[in-house]
């Protein structure tokens, strides 16, 4: 049994008096125990929406209109708030983009950690304190014991994100969902934090869903990729396979457009146009207006996800190398 299984997930928001727009339009996902998955896409593609939907955190007026989320055999979407709290923040932890927003500015680090632990475990404050220091040490925070009394504003951005990771690890989760965990940080700090997350996941057999727009980070950290576009998964598969030989024209374009994949001074490959807003999607494949391989078929109907690609005219490995 997989650790997490998402089937045909749809999320919709009301628009106008009667209408609805779909932010997620049928997403499937299977994550095995200890597996690391990268969810890649541009802003508005539905990556964060997917994370929120998995955790049953879609706020009114949005709602899940269809589909299921199963975690270790439990149906998360059908659970009461009380039941899901045993899983969310406990067996599934979250790391968000901006540590300054995640942490409470008026509580010390120690207080926030102890509070989190006591919410999920019936243990003494002394024991919670000991476990918290242990986790701060695990994420390589210097002089962890004295940092327990520090407030978030007293720490640098990198250390703050380390504290957030320590909090996420407190309950020994089986799955961590990290939503752009390093986007607000500098490159050297990003490298530190991502290598830390990678090591912790490997050593403790923790599964990871890493949401990001950075293909380099995904290539470094994950084993599988899911590329999202306009609320749908357009390509999914092993990270190495997709980075080396992407099949969906959008994935091909994203990789080709990276400066490191272009000769110095040469014109960069560019995908024309921009992603359509979910309120105004074209018919058929949502990518067809920007796609150089599109045909009438693409304009008429949405290609199904077959063998990891949702495209009528996927690139093949041979075609890719011939170019």
């Amino acid at each position: 049994m997989p650790l997490l299984e998402v089937k045909d997930l749809h999320v919709a928001f009301p628009k106008g008096k009667k209408g609805e727009v779909e932010a997620l339009r049928g997403v499937d996902l299977v994550l095995e125990k200890g597996q690391r998955l990268g969810v890649v896409g541009e802003s508005g593609a539905g990556k964060s929406m997917l994370a929120f939907a998995i955790l049953n955190l879609i706020a009114e007026p949005g709602r899940v209109t269809q589909g299921s989320v199963t975690f270790d055999g439990n149906d998360l979407l059908g659970m009461s708030e009380r039941q899901i709290r045993r899983i969310r923040g406990n067996r599934i932890s979250m790391i968000f983009q901006d540590p300054m927003v995640t942490l409470n500015p008026v509580l010390s680090i120690g207080k926030q950690m102890i509070e989190t632990l006591k919410a999920h475990r019936s243990i003494s404050t002394r024991e919670a304190h000991r476990l918290s220091v242990e986790k701060l040490n695990l994420v390589a925070i210097p002089s962890a014991e004295s940092r327990m009394d520090a407030y978030p504003h007293e720490l640098s951005g990198g250390l703050r994100q380390r504290v957030v990771i320590a909090i996420a690890l407190l309950t020994d989760p089986e799955l961590i969902i990290a939503d752009e965990p390093t986007t607000a940080l500098d490159v050297t700090i990003q490298a530190e934090i991502m290598s830390l997350i990678l090591r912790l996941c490997r050593e403790n057999d923790v599964a990871l869903i890493l949401i990001t727009h950075d293909l380099g980070v995904v290539a470094e950290v994950t084993e599988r990729i899911m590329i999202m576009y306009a609320g749908k998964c357009v390509e999914t598969g092993r990270t190495r396979d997709i980075i080396d030989a992407p099949k969906h024209p959008y994935a091909v374009g994203l990789l080709k457009a990276l400066p490191q994949n272009s000769a110095k001074g040469a014109k960069l490959y560019q995908i024309p146009g921009s992603m359509p807003p979910i309120t105004n999607l074209p018919t058929g494949c949502p990518y067809h207006p920007r796609c150089e391989r599109s045909t009438d078929e693409c304009r008429a109907s949405m290609p199904p996800l077959t063998q990891g690609v949702a495209c009528f005219h996927p690139m093949h490995e041979q075609a890719e190398t011939a170019q």
Partner: protein, 327 residues
């Protein structure tokens, strides 16, 4: 200084920028933040000069000081041989038309209540008051064409555009007075991946067509490698290494440059496997006495903690590095 064929378009000499921080009510100390401490750079005509470094290194402060948006505490700034930091506003106006800036966030840099025409006409009206309204109109139309904007955008407001389109408008605004020099401060980092290539290509094309000189401020080294001619690596208000792009990537001399290069995630993977120690910028209010990078440096020696290294030639590729140990 007289203008000659080899004179740089922009030059700073010993540029310092200090900000006085609020004094604590119980303390006599007057804390001072050193945002720039002695920056000497020369930007040659027609080149793309990249300034890289992490947040807080002073790269944006340097760009703003050159543009005259901040007044330096000491030091000199020259533009085409004229000293500009001491000019009064009237004398500076024609210079301002010659140097323009593109900001990071096109959602914040465009006035939401002005339509595109008003936004683009403003710099001409202000900096070139002699232009007739026909000239203004013609110039706006030209620049819209040059930057790939549609003429129908003129009467539209910023909220009607996507991020990439807004950044095109911001670039058009910077170009409308026909400047020779543009400071672009992280012009693509707020944009989506598929849009970044569009904007980089546009900047490249404009440089070819108009012979522009760019000062490109960024934290993204993969962009620098593709786009830059020369690079200044900054740390805590100082230039740590100054070299051609090619030399920086082939043979970085400063340990900080090496650290930055090692931090780039690679599509091949594998470079995040080794654990990394937490590092952070020293406090810019109380910088360490020697090399500012010494607390993080893997090859630090006694001398680094005592004496601040000066930029000096290292190796034979023309690289300058501020490191006692580089060779």
């Amino acid at each position: 200084m007289t203008e000659s064929a080899s004179s740089p378009i922009v030059e700073t000499r010993g540029l310092e920028m200090r900000f006085n921080l609020p004094t604590h009510f119980l303390s006599r100390e007057k804390p001072v933040l050193h945002a720039l401490s002695g920056v000497d750079i020369k930007i040659e005509k027609g080149e793309t000069f990249c300034v890289v470094g992490e947040s807080g290194c002073g790269k944006t402060t340097l760009g703003r000081a050159i543009m005259g948006l901040l007044t330096p505490s000491s030091g000199e700034i020259y533009f085409e041989g004229q000293r500009i930091d001491t000019m009064d506003e009237a004398a500076r106006k024609p210079v301002r038309a010659d140097m323009q800036m593109v900001f990071q966030n096109p959602y914040a840099s465009l006035n939401p209540r002005r339509n595109v025409y008003q936004t683009l006409a403003e710099p001409i009206r202000h900096l070139m008051p002699e232009k007739s309204s026909q000239d203004v109109r013609a110039q706006v139309e030209d620049v819209l064409d040059a930057t790939g904007c549609d003429q129908s955008w003129q009467r539209k407001l910023p909220h009607e555009f996507s991020g990439g389109q807004r950044q095109r408008i911001a670039i058009a605004r910077a170009l409308v007075t026909n400047p020779a020099f543009i400071v672009a401060d992280e012009p693509i980092s707020a944009l989506d991946v598929s849009i970044q290539a569009q904007i980089l290509n546009l900047l490249n094309d404009l440089q070819d067509e108009r012979g522009l000189t760019y000062m490109f401020i960024t934290h993204d080294l993969s962009v620098v490698e593709h786009f830059g001619d020369r690079v200044a690596v900054m740390y805590l208000g100082q230039v740590m290494e100054l070299a051609s792009t090619e030399a920086i990537y082939r043979d970085p001399k400063h340990p900080y440059t090496q650290l930055l290069l090692d931090a780039i995630p690679s599509l091949e993977g594998g470079s995040f496997d080794a654990p990394r120690e937490p590092g952070e910028l020293p406090d810019p209010v109380n910088p360490p006495p020697g090399c500012p990078f010494a607390p993080r440096c893997p090859i630090v020696q006694e001398i680094c903690r005592a004496e601040r290294p000066r930029l000096r030639p290292v190796g034979d590729s023309g690289t300058l590095a501020a490191c006692h140990l580089a060779e």
